[in-house]
Symmetry: C2
Subunit: 237 residues, 2 copies
């Protein structure tokens, strides 16, 4: 790994637990309105509503809660009560204040990598929420740079590399989402490691053709990153 | 103005109309539920709820809409209906897609200043929403740097100045909020111009003592900035 100088990490479901918090909130909401909304109908409709609202709300808990309320109102045929709406908002508040739970091996890995590399947090989502989680994670002192972006496209990565004057060959992105952390990075000729998480939001899933599958590395967990970097030379396939 | 090299502008109610959009939404909501919620009670309670929720939601439309729903639910004594809740969400969506209306003189002023200074947008609020407004404003090509932050404190300004390697004496902040754009900037020994806007959110208002009033300049509108910069030497009082 002679050429890598800057390693950027995604946060949600790469450094700490995220998707299960959304899943739990969805389950709580289903239970709340189960007397008049079929749980699986709610799930399907919620995904439709979230997708439709994404261009207005962006990523993050507040937009999710608004989509959840909209879905329940739409499916409830006027049966939803004010107190149930308030309970949904409270479910959202619990998500926001949920303790930040680091994934196994994260702290040791970041500590080890900090010795040799410039470390960056590069995550998308709600600015306020991500800053709060970074602060509460206790990991902020390990990182040199923080970039919270509204989306992760080729253009986003080009801007970040240009801003820090890092060439694509010296940059490595580590994350759990093929759509956000891997494919756009490969597409600008840079390096990526995919670490799948057991639970991934439908929106972040992509179908891969054989040709794209060869363009990045996949590891089972973050603890394997330092050893992998010692043993491998990235090639921009 | 020999020493100023970088001029940073606040956006909401400095470059374009913002607070009136929130006021209009509040009025629409009051009208929607006027049969069972007293309008002035709604205003008072909304401000309480927003202030209480600020540490969870941060600034921006999505948090405002969630606080609006929470306020209506709390005051409605169970009379609010699902369809009214949906109308409040739709009011929020209208806010998000509201056309960006530049304040008088903004484009000419920015065009003139761009010749001599490095220009930055430095605004707080929702990342996704601010990026969308910057893009839709048509002003993005005039600015060299964009910083969207979750709050504007002394620490925020110190970080931004350090990030761009700008000394406090070479930096000027222009904005409509004493709390966010002026006082923290003066407190780190840098320069600020206050351009009051006719409508300011209660939260951004501060009581000034005589001693702080002397530490910055106040102009009536943004068109006066270029001439002011030619005629005056900033002193860090």
């Amino acid at each position: 790994m002679a050429d890598i100088k800057v390693i950027a990490f995604d946060t949600d479901d790469t450094l700490w637990v995220n998707e299960p918090i959304y899943n739990k909130a969805e389950e709580q909401c289903k239970k709340l309105v189960q007397d008049y909304i079929n749980p699986s109908t709610l799930s399907d409709q919620l995904y439709q509503t979230e997708t439709k609202n994404l261009k207005l709300f962006g990523y993050g808990i507040k937009g999710f809660v608004l989509s959840l309320i909209e879905t329940v109102v739409e499916l409830s045929e006027k049966q939803v009560t004010g107190s149930e709406i308030q309970k949904i908002i409270d479910i959202g508040k619990d998500m926001i204040t949920h303790p930040v739970e680091l994934l196994p091996g994260v702290e040791e890995t970041i500590t080890a990598l900090k010795e040799k590399y410039i470390l960056m947090i590069l995550t998308k989502g709600d600015l306020f929420d991500q800053e709060s989680k970074i602060a509460r994670s206790g990991l902020d002192t390990y990182f040199d740079y923080f970039e919270i972006v509204s989306d992760k496209t080729k253009g986003t990565y080009r801007n970040v590399l240009s801003r820090y004057e890092v060439s694509p060959s010296n940059f490595l992105m580590v994350g759990n989402s093929l759509r956000s952390d891997v494919l756009p990075v490969k597409n600008i000729g840079s390096n990526a490691i995919h670490i799948p998480y057991h639970s991934t939001w439908e929106h972040e899933k992509v179908e891969l053709s054989d040709s794209t599958q060869n363009g990045y590395y996949e590891l089972e967990n973050i603890s394997q990153v330092p050893e992998f970097l010692q043993g491998n030379q990235f090639q921009n396939q």
